[in-house]
């Protein structure tokens, strides 16, 4: 199927570009003064975090449109976006502790930001579990739309309450009201990384969307379906 192949190509190119970004980050971007090499993970961590949150918002938006239009393509997109979001949330949750150990001296603390990223991840897992637990495709689409919309509305609460708790986590230095407060070369590397992650998200979505379509065809043909 052409779409699946296209998705694989996009993902492969994005992964290659990610390697290139890291060559730039390690060799051609200055080392941060206080954090040293550990700071390099920032180029992976923050773009993944941005896309983990974007993915739930896109899932929710697709859910809203699904409830009005009842177009199965929207449901397929929502499912794909949620799965990609799960992967990005997992990246955030693995890169965070790797950075935290040398900088904070601990892998994990029950800090507000960490806790809420964990909840975002669990929200995604719940969404995927719900999809697995409903057999009827139309019912599954409606249920997951409802959960996706609720999830999207939960994100602002998570975001706001981060500012209400005392936190160890560094405050945003790029996505904030005033100008980014990091050197130009770091900002360029970071922006390149964000671009690569966007491409990675697109690649994942295209692949998963195509797989979802094939699953539905198989289901309609009366076959056993492998994916939940």
């Amino acid at each position: 199927m052409r779409m699946l192949r296209a998705g694989r190509w996009i993902t492969a190119i994005a992964l290659l570009l990610l390697a290139a970004v890291y060559v730039r980050a390690l060799a051609f971007t200055p080392v941060e003064q206080t954090q040293g090499l550990a700071q390099k993970i920032f180029y992976l961590h923050v773009p993944a975090a941005i896309w983990a949150e974007m993915a739930i918002i896109l899932t929710g938006l697709a859910g809203i449109f699904y409830l009005f239009l009842k177009d199965p393509r929207l449901d397929r997109f929502a499912a794909a976006s949620a799965e990609a979001g799960t992967v990005f949330a997992a990246i955030v949750l693995t890169t965070g502790p790797i950075w935290g150990k040398p900088i904070w001296g601990t892998w994990w603390t029950w800090d507000a930001r960490l806790t809420f990223t964990l909840f975002l991840f669990l929200l995604y897992v719940g969404y995927l579990l719900l999809r697995g637990a409903v057999a009827d495709p139309a019912l599954r689409a409606r249920y997951s739309a409802v959960l996706g919309i609720c999830g999207m509305c939960l994100v602002p609460f998570i975001h706001f309450s981060v500012y209400m708790f005392p936190t160890l986590h560094p405050m945003p230095i790029v996505m904030k009201p005033s100008a980014p407060s990091l050197p130009g070369s770091m900002l360029v590397t970071w922006l390149l990384s964000l671009g690569v992650f966007t491409l990675l998200y697109v690649g994942f979505i295209v692949q998963r969307y195509a797989l979802g379509y094939l699953d539905e065809q198989l289901e309609a043909a009366g076959g056993e379906f492998g994916h939940a």
């Binding site: 669990l122 637990a133 998570i158 309450s161």
Partner: protein
């Protein structure tokens, strides 16, 4: 549909559920016994020489309420499954919103009854002074309960028709319960420690906003969970 009709129909649905519950009294009795048991278990989970009860009381209170509420919510739509009672309810000439409101109301009264018994028990078992703070404590409990019961009622309408309903509801609901629960726990802690009310106003505001957003959202989304 006019507003008085909406409320009247909602009350009819709620009173039906409460009547069923009042005639058998099994669920409410089990929930109360459950609350007592959870509190007893908590007593063994702490070292009385190291942790004072006042530090632990807010957590005990809210963990107990969380579990009790999940038990109650699981049953809300379970009773409608017998003899296809839900189909009868959906065929009734009332709006979907009033069905949701009725279910929400019945759940709230159920959970409130459990909480009404839980608070004196906490005071008794853990020697916590609640009387001087009764009114603000009631406000915190009411605001938090409305929020998570609203989401829980919506989700239980979905999970009841899936496989592993009893397990799926907490998995879906807990990420949504944690924000209001964490605000409520922090506010309760400050309150019981005798801090001025102005310190908890921020948490109460957040709880209020959460309630408004999720009650509205659930009212809008509920039809999507039951329509065929």
């Amino acid at each position: 549909m006019r507003l008085p009709d909406l409320i009247r129909h909602a009350w009819t649905v709620a009173s039906k559920d409460l009547l069923v519950e009042f005639r058998s009294r099994t669920a409410i009795l089990s929930a109360v016994v459950f609350v007592v048991l959870v509190m007893v278990v908590f007593n063994f989970g702490r070292d009385p020489t190291a942790v004072s009860t006042i530090d632990l009381a807010p957590s005990i209170l809210w963990v107990t309420f969380t579990f009790a509420a999940i038990l109650a919510l699981n049953r809300a739509f379970q009773i409608e499954l017998e003899n296809q009672a839900l189909d009868g309810l959906l065929l009734a000439p009332i709006s979907r919103s009033s069905i949701y409101l009725g279910k929400l109301l019945a759940n709230l009264i159920f959970v409130a009854t459990v909480e009404l018994i839980g608070v004196p028990l906490l005071a008794l078992f853990f020697n916590v002074r609640v009387l001087p703070y009764l009114l603000p404590l009631a406000a915190i409990i009411a605001l938090a309960t409305v929020g998570f019961v609203a989401v829980g009622t919506l989700f239980s309408a979905m999970t009841v028709r899936t496989r592993f309903a009893e397990l799926l509801l907490p998995v879906l609901l807990l990420p949504f319960m944690i924000p209001p629960l964490s605000w409520a726990t922090l506010a309760t802690g400050r309150l019981l420690a005798g801090r001025p009310l102005s310190e908890i106003a921020g948490w109460l505001n957040m709880l209020g906003v959460y309630d408004v957003v999720f009650v509205t959202l659930a009212l809008l989304l509920f039809p999507a969970t039951v329509n065929e």
